[in-house]
């Protein structure tokens, strides 16, 4: 599988190179849009679908550019979920003058160093999946994303708790930048919503939560928010339930792993239940994706995985921006910088995952966030967890 993919991408790249050499004629020319996602390795299931989503968008939406006389092609790259590989690919991508836009990546850890290359080359980048705040907070004109941000999840969880009528919360975090960051946003929003924050504590403890639980149980909050990763939070949930806490647990997308129910067992669905927020859901959560889902299944033989719809929209945005920039340049091949500007300048673009407007740093002006309820103590049913609430929230400025 891996080898065929390599061979395929090599062939595609080679054929593109040949057509690029041949097609330097007047008026038209070859325009390429690159994708970078893990096409091999453990995360390739999602990475390949990001590429497939982009490919589908290219096929369906390249019409306007072809009418202007351009040939539009996809240039898929495999970043292997590895920052080094992502940066090496990025160097190749910026060295190819036909590439005017890049859709990528899946991992924030790969996107952040790779986008330094895009930034230096003035190459517009639309990210379908990267949620780390730093993706956009560096303030690069070239970098945009069409998903939410990690640091908004605290706000999401607090809004959700408020909508459930929770009056008092206890806030915990794992002392990492990720968990503590989310927990602090949660606390601010919870207080703003009039909830009583009974405690705010960080802990690196992963086994024995007795000492932490005593003041928590004495305070008896209606809900507990824990910002962190499932391997710690699930143990905490189990021990809290064993000690008789019956309120609601709320967490973040670090909790999104079937291993969580493996650890916590029945405790996870007991009492008030357990909820977690995520920044992007599978395609079926977005109302505009009905046609996309059938088209995708028809072309690739299986339904789209998470982030495939975002891959589609990222490509659509790239194509629309290239079209706008080409029109401004008098139907000639646009400059990269013009494309990057055109991406940021898009107004109310109707994508399948929602209406897209970028703010001054490339975040969506309002992004969708989902709160998911853990419905079953069976790890195999983790992906069937229902969405408890969908929220549209603006990123922090």
């Amino acid at each position: 599988m891996k080898r065929t993919l390599y061979a395929l991408s090599f062939l595609v790249a080679l054929s593109m190179l040949l057509t690029a050499c041949g097609g330097g004629g007047a008026g038209g020319g070859v325009i390429k849009v690159a994708t970078q996602s893990p096409l091999s390795g453990g995360q390739s299931a999602i990475g390949v679908d990001i590429k497939n989503g982009a490919e589908l968008a290219l096929e369906q939406l390249k019409g306007p550019l072809e009418e202007m006389g351009f040939t539009v092609q996809l240039a898929p790259y495999d970043d292997q979920a590895n920052p080094d590989q992502g940066v090496a690919n990025a160097k190749q991508i910026v060295a190819d003058p036909a590439i005017l836009c890049i859709v990528g990546h899946y991992n924030s850890g790969v996107q952040i160093p790779s986008s330094e290359e895009y930034h230096n080359a003035g190459l517009g980048n639309v990210s379908p999946a990267n949620t780390n705040p730093k993706v956009t907070t560096r303030g690069y004109l070239e970098v945009n994303r069409i998903v939410g941000r990690d640091d908004v999840q605290g706000v999401v969880a607090a809004d959700f708790a408020a909508s459930q009528g929770v009056k008092s919360v206890y806030v915990l975090h794992d002392k990492t930048a990720y968990g503590q960051g989310i927990a602090e946003f949660f606390r601010i929003e919870a207080e703003a919503k009039g909830m009583q924050v009974l405690g705010f504590e960080g802990t690196e403890e992963k086994a024995n939560f007795d000492a932490l639980l005593t003041p928590l149980l004495a305070a008896n909050p209606e809900a507990v928010f824990f910002g962190g990763i499932y391997d710690q939070i699930a143990v905490f949930i189990k021990q809290a339930r064993e000690k008789g806490y019956m309120g609601i647990f709320v967490s973040d997308d670090g909790f999104d792993s079937p291993e969580a129910v493996n650890i916590a067992g029945e405790a996870i669905v007991a009492g008030g239940g357990t909820y977690y927020s995520t920044v992007a859901g599978p395609a079926l959560l977005y109302p505009g994706t009905a046609k996309f889902q059938t088209d995708f299944a028809a072309k690739y033989g299986a339904g789209p995985k998470p982030f495939a719809a975002q891959g589609y929209d990222s490509m659509a945005i790239c194509l629309k921006a290239i079209e706008n920039a080409a029109k401004d340049a008098g139907n000639k091949m646009p400059e990269r910088a013009a494309v990057a500007n055109a991406i940021r300048a898009l107004k109310d673009y109707a994508g399948i995952t929602g209406t897209i407007n970028f703010n001054s740093i490339g975040d969506l002006t309002t992004a969708k966030y989902f709160v998911i309820q853990v419905a079953s103590p069976d790890p195999a049913k983790w992906n069937d967890n229902p969405v408890a609430e969908t929220l549209d929230i603006a990123p922090p400025q």
């Binding site: 504590e201 992963k206 650890i263």
Partner: protein, 391 residues
């Protein structure tokens, strides 16, 4: 003659039991008294008012109502520490050397026991079994953990420590740290190769997760439940049995006499016909087995293990051994109980007494600050002067 021996046996069985009761009640009483006095002193203070506004209870009610549960949790943790601390203390008593690899011996025991139970679960042997069978499997898991960990400890001694016995004291210490890293990554490698992941979770079976309710204290913010989990009881009982057994082995048997002789004076013991190498191997075997059993109990109590799981309990248990007076088995027990109490009291009460400024996350700082204070005034530990009882 026979009657004399009988009374020795009985004494060595009852003495540690008495010590445990005295230590638990004593340190529990002292710490509880300190907390209550503190709460009384802080009546009407800002912290008192803040808690009243937040929880609807004042500091004194909060302290008193939580005391029973905190004490129960403390004792459980204290006995886990004590069981691990015994391994450090035994080896130190005999070799005057700190076996830093003991925390990984502990982790190995945990992995062996848990993997055994996971295999049973995979074979469907843990589904819907009765209590008797559940306890039998648990005991088998503990015994396997003890065997594996004991043999590993003996092997480590043979390969990494014995060749260095004449070397300066720092050399085997460095060797122990090396073994510690080696074992951590060896567990990680073996687990990753065979199971594809190195976080393991003990299967849920039997009635271990059940909670025996002992009552509740009604408060305006809601009732405070007091209870103890079945698995905590198992941890306490198993640790007590281990402590009594070890004490019996060291103080009432011929082998124990040999161990004490080697600890007291190695060259002379060897002149008296004691096979010193064998006794040292045996010391590692026993210490390692105790660590392995503690590992399985730890996994039972706290659910999840990984190859680095031994680090913090190991460090705390080593601290407990030093606090009690290293090389002294009674001291290890006392140190474990006191450290478990300090940690849980600090964790439970810090946030209320500091108005949330220093929460449970600072429990170790407080526990270790008190430890430093104790060691300043008693450098050889709480029971350090009774060298005669050195194992």
């Amino acid at each position: 003659m026979l009657r004399r021996f009988g009374s020795v046996y009985l004494r060595e069985l009852l003495r540690p039991l008495g010590q445990m009761i005295v230590f638990v009640l004593g340190s529990g009483f002292v710490l509880s008294a300190v907390m209550v006095v503190l709460a009384l002193l802080m009546r009407g203070s800002a912290a008192d008012k803040a808690l009243l506004a937040r929880n609807g209870t004042d500091l004194l009610t909060f302290t008193l109502s939580n005391l029973p549960q905190v004490l129960i949790d403390s004792v459980t943790l204290g006995f886990v520490y004590a069981a691990i601390a015994l391994g450090y203390s035994m080896v130190y008593g005999v070799l005057e050397f700190i076996n830093f690899a003991h925390s990984e011996i502990f982790a190995t025991g945990a992995f062996i026991g848990v993997e055994f139970l996971i295999i049973l679960e995979g074979a469907g042997r843990l589904d819907g079994i009765g209590n008797l069978l559940a306890y039998t499997w648990l005991v088998v898991a503990i015994i396997l953990g003890m065997l594996g960990a004991g043999l590993l400890a003996t092997g480590v001694e043979r390969i990494a420590y014995r060749p260095l016995r004449g070397a300066p004291r720092l050399v085997p210490l460095i060797s122990a740290i090396g073994v510690s890293f080696f074992l951590q990554d060896a567990i990680r490698m073996i687990e990753s190769l065979t199971t594809g992941q190195f976080h393991r979770i003990i299967p849920t079976f039997g009635n271990f997760d059940q909670r025996i309710m002992l009552g509740n204290i009604p408060l305006s913010s809601g009732p405070i439940l007091i209870g103890i989990q079945v698995k905590s009881v198992i941890v306490i009982v198993a640790a007590m049995l281990m402590l009594i057994g070890l004490n019996f082995l060291v103080n009432a048997t011929k082998v124990g006499k040999a161990i004490r002789a080697v600890a007291a004076d190695r060259p002379t013991a060897s002149l008296m016909g004691i096979n010193v190498n064998r006794i040292i191997s045996l010391t590692f075997l026993v210490g390692g087995a105790l660590g392995g059993a503690a590992g399985v109990l730890y996994a039972l109590k706290f659910t999840r293990i990984d190859p680095f799981v031994g680090f913090f309990p190991g460090l705390k248990a080593f601290t407990a051994a030093v606090l009690g007076g290293i090389g002294n088995l009674t001291g290890a027990l006392l140190g474990g109980v006191v450290l478990g109490m300090l940690e849980n009291f600090a964790g439970a009460y810090l946030s209320a007494f500091t108005m949330g400024a220093a929460g449970a996350e600072y429990k170790d700082i407080l526990a270790f600050a008190i430890l430093i204070l104790v060691l300043i005034f008693r450098p050889s530990g709480l029971l350090g002067e009774q060298v005669g009882q050195k194992a």
